[in-house]
């Protein structure tokens, strides 16, 4: 019987123990496949634990370029006795199980192919010191996979060289074990599975990076001058990337800093510092996750009301308190949209790719300073912490927009006559001054209490209402300034799909599946910001039905769209799901088809 070959189109899940050093092995595989020109995505499913609990890493190879998570795993590498039973059961029918041969088990499945690997034995023969043997044992499965799937050893070398920054010692000892694994497999295993990898040309011109690194780099090219932060998974690596790249990119030739980064005592202080810096005229930011956002509520509400520019990154995780801190979600949307007490909506940017994390990293400052307002950037754990193939980062295509700031010469021209909260241009955005301005009329007093146009304390009802009306006008102005959505049209489609952020990859793949299996044509729109722009409302109005696809329980974007466009609400349908994992195309397809049957 001729067996169908699967080339560059399957998933590999590697089950190991957290803290055992398997990350290096997994990322080496991912990068090697990427270097072979095969579209790949890698997702780390890790526990909230430093060492000892089961952890999984899934690499998806997709010749067609789909990078969403899949439910199926054709190849499973089982290195962890504790999770073995589950891992064995997780292999797709017809799939392959590679297992460390020290795990004893009775095979109860006849629909899969199994290969043993003498991981511990081969690691012992390596020349590394005994305390590194467990760590390097992970390289055995890399070697076995290299041999059995046909991964290029040259690409493996490139990946190791990158990971160990060219240091020959670790490169050679890891390579030694990989080679030993590959040789052992060549001599001892007979390939009888249908999975192969082959050089391809689908990753040319792409890079691999994670969203947190990209966001930090974007902020640096956006001129970030002050960042205060408090450690929280999965946002920590964003601030740490600032610490890595700022010294390389933002010191003068004399070695002086044009920036300051400060680790605060908590998120309340972190946002307070960022608001203080933004108020004083710096490009200021903080980065956090959901629980930190809750703590930042009061200051961001005040910043909106007192009109202070500040950028807040939320790398979303799931749940309150600890929740599932190492799992992903898009669950902070409504909380942030209305963050703080009283009437308001916030400006939110929604990056959908690593490249866009970079772009919104710098754009957020332009918007915050133009609007004199907090600007939130909603990323998530999947986007922020996983490695993605992406277009290279693009240099900002517009000069910085520092907004309406009056300096000494401006005030001289105005004869010192200006009012901090006066809407001179009709766009709701007043002029501001910042500290250090020596003009005698520069200073004003910023307060959370009611104030008039001159920033003087006022408890007058009309003043209060006028100020709030102006802030609303300003939010309307923001509609035209925020990034427009991305749209894709299919001739004859009557149904529109709306999504945002990292959920795009699952939705794009689902569109293909919907067309293939359900004969359902769809138009597509990815929102990239709130407030809702004209393009989004037009898209909604043009379609018979709209599905809003997002990784949360309540369909939060649908709630916002429904509340903003109540007349359109009846045709807005929710496809929302939240279990800590990124959405899959299959789930999206099935959910939409199930609702379509009820039409």
């Amino acid at each position: 019987m001729a067996v169908k070959k699967f080339t560059n189109d399957f998933s590999i899940t590697i089950a190991t123990v957290n803290g055992s050093g398997s990350q290096t092995a997994n990322v080496t595989l991912l990068r090697a496949l990427f270097k072979m020109g095969i579209p790949v995505s890698g997702k780390n499913l890790f526990p909230s634990n430093i060492q000892g609990l089961p952890t999984w890493y899934t690499i998806r190879l997709s010749k067609d370029g789909y990078i969403a998570r899949r439910d199926e795993q054709e190849i499973v590498v089982a290195m962890n006795p504790a999770s073995f039973a589950k891992d064995l059961a997780s292999v797709s029918p017809g799939g392959v199980l590679f297992y460390s041969d020290d795990i004893k088990f009775t095979l109860d499945r006849s629909d899969i192919i199994t290969y043993p690997m003498p991981a511990k034995q081969l690691a012992r023969t390596s020349d590394v010191s005994p305390n590194l043997r467990d760590y390097i044992a992970n390289m055995v499965y890399v070697g076995v996979l290299v041999q059995m799937l046909g991964i290029s050893m040259e690409a493996i070398q490139q990946a190791l060289n990158f990971h160990f920054k060219g240091k020959e010692g670790p490169i050679n000892s890891n390579l030694g074990v990989i080679r030993a694994g590959a040789e052992w497999a060549a001599q001892n295993l007979k390939k009888n599975d249908p999975y192969y990898v082959k050089r391809h040309d689908r990753t040319n011109g792409m890079i691999m990076a994670d969203g947190n690194t990209a966001g930090a780099l974007g902020a640096i090219y956006g001129g970030v001058q002050f960042a205060a932060w408090y450690p929280i998974t999965p946002a920590t690596s964003l601030a740490e990337s600032l610490n890595v790249y700022l010294p390389q990119l933002r010191k003068t030739p004399e070695g002086k800093q044009t920036y300051a980064v400060l680790q605060a005592e908590d998120e309340i202080a972190a946002i307070g510092m960022a608001v203080g810096a933004g108020w004083a005229g710096l490009r200021a930011m903080t980065s956090t996750s959901g629980p930190g956002i809750s703590l930042m509520s009061e200051y961001t509400g005040l910043a909106l009301f007192t009109e202070v520019p500040v950028v807040v990154w939320d790398v979303q995780r799931i749940g309150p308190s600890t929740g599932l801190p190492t799992r992903t979600a898009q669950g902070d949307l409504t909380a942030i949209y209305y963050l703080g007490h009283g009437d308001k909506q916030h400006v939110i940017l929604l990056p959908g790719s690593v490249n866009e994390c970079f772009e919104f990293g710098w754009k957020a400052f332009d918007l915050a300073e133009r609007l004199q307002s907090p600007v939130f950037v909603l990323s998530d754990l999947d986007l922020g912490m996983n490695q993605w193939m992406t277009k290279p980062f693009e240099y900002p295509d517009v000069p910085m927009d520092r907004g309406k700031v009056l300096w000494e010469k401006d005030l001289e021209q105005l004869n010192g006559i200006w009012a901090r909260y006066k809407d001179v241009d009709g766009d709701g955005i007043p002029f501001r001054t910042v500290t250090g301005n020596k003009h005698h009329a520069a200073a004003y007093f910023t307060r959370g209490s009611g104030h008039d146009e001159n920033a003087h304390l006022s408890e007058d009802a009309l003043n209060w209402e006028a100020n709030m009306a102006r802030l609303k006008r300003k939010y309307t102005t923001a509609q035209a300034l925020v990034p427009k959505p991305i749209e894709e049209k299919t001739p004859g489609a009557k149904i529109g799909l709306i999504t945002y952020g990292s959920s795009e990859s699952a939705v794009q793949e689902a569109r293909t599946l919907l067309k293939q299996t359900g004969d359902l044509k769809t138009n597509f729109l990815r929102m990239r910001a709130l407030p809702i722009t004209q393009e989004v409302s037009n898209f909604i109005k043009k379609h018979e039905r709209i599905y809003i696809i997002e990784a949360n329980r309540d369909g939060q974007m649908r709630q916002i769209l429904s509340a903003t466009m109540p007349d359109q609400a009846p045709k807005l349908r929710s496809a929302a799901h939240s279990d800590g994992l990124p959405l899959t195309a299959r789930w999206v397809k099935n959910t939409i088809l199930a609702q379509e049957k009820k039409v």
């Binding site: 004083a280 007093f445 003087h456």
Partner: protein, 349 residues
């Protein structure tokens, strides 16, 4: 000892300004509130130090005390932030232009209750700010609840008797390695003014715990923070007067009881300490803690400069910042050149 300066309205200081130009809006606090006299001493201190108001920025949290930045230095930037969160606001703002002096006004509720965590971290970072706690042991703006500095056994209408030990702000500041700790009493304008001047000249955090009696909600004659109690229990450590660096400085090599000791401030100006009956050395943290412990045991309100350390870098010194104020940097100084991004892209995999 310097002769007190008599100021006439209209008289111009070295900054070319009259005292009027240091004033703020009319106070809306209760008549007789200690906070008003502190505001007046800030005005006097800045005037006498020839400070240009544009070179000062004011911060406050929430509470009666935090309203008072409106009542001085109209020509200075100010930010009335959140309850207990004044210090973080100032911490961020000082990086914009390190030549602008920060003055923060807080209260006992603002600092010793809701803002205690932030307070201690601000102290340990040596944030360059004059941090004044207008301490009355009571929540005034919400009309009379106990604060964390209220003494044990205090009775308040609607609240009953306070069962808890009070927080000693100076002790907390010292425990967090503050570089300047002083205490005064709002009714002693001369000492308040001199301590404010010393605090302004200090490079680093200057904690000034000023007992500022609440005339409305906490002024039982036997209460710790009342005028009557304070006046009876005040035990000045030394007389203190500020000598601007442009004037002659009287140097005293020896420091014996009854003589004058000069402490040089970071900016070259100095403070003269006149010791009264105690042989007190404000440069010894050990001695300062001991003194506060003794004062607590003896029910004393010790005023004066409790501790000063001049060598430690302030927060902004810990960053090797460019000379241009960060908030005046141009785009070319803030955005790395295009070719650096090509390199960054090659650094990714």
């Amino acid at each position: 000892m310097t002769t007190p300066t008599t100021v006439f309205v209209g008289q111009v200081n070295k900054a070319g300004l009259t005292k009027n130009e240091y004033r703020g809006q009319p106070s809306t606090l209760c008549p007789g509130c200690g906070h008003n006299s502190i505001a007046n001493q800030i005005i006097a201190a800045c005037y006498e130090l020839d400070i240009v108001p544009e070179n000062v920025m004011k911060f406050s949290g929430i509470g009666c005390s935090s309203k008072s930045p409106t009542y001085f230095l109209n020509r200075s930037f100010g930010f009335n932030g959140l309850h207990g969160r004044m210090a973080s606001l100032a911490t961020g703002a000082i990086f914009a232009n390190t030549s602008v002096k920060a003055i923060g006004i807080s209260g006992d509720g603002d600092t010793a209750s809701i803002g205690m965590g932030g307070f201690k971290h601000t102290v340990r970072r040596n944030v360059p700010i004059v941090y004044i706690v207008e301490n009355n042991g009571v929540y005034g703006l919400t009309k009379g609840q106990f604060s964390a500095t209220a003494e044990v056994g205090l009775n308040l209408k609607h609240q009953g008797t306070n069962p808890y030990m009070p927080v000693d702000i100076c002790m907390e500041a010292l425990a967090s390695n503050a570089t300047f700790v002083a205490r005064s009493f709002a009714g002693d304008s001369k000492q308040v003014k001199e301590l404010i001047k010393a605090a302004i000249s200090h490079h680093g955090i200057a904690i000034l715990d000023i007992i500022s009696p609440c005339v409305t909600f906490n002024n039982e004659d036997n209460a710790f923070h009342s005028y009557t109690w304070s006046k009876d229990h005040e035990a000045p450590l030394h007389e203190i007067s500020y000598v601007p660096k442009l004037s002659e400085i009287i140097l005293q090599e020896e420091f014996e009881e009854g003589t004058v000791r000069e402490v040089t401030m970071h900016d070259g100006s100095s403070v003269k300490l006149k010791k009264l009956e105690h042989d007190y050395d404000p440069t010894s943290r050990w001695r300062a803690l001991q003194m506060l412990e003794e004062a607590q045991r003896n029910d004393w309100l010790v005023t004066g400069l409790i501790y000063i350390e001049t060598g430690r870098p302030a927060l902004t010194d810990m960053y090797n910042l460019v000379d241009t104020p960060l908030n005046r940097l141009s785009e070319s100084e803030m955005r790395p050149a295009r070719q650096t991004l090509d390199k960054i892209n090659t650094l990714m995999f």
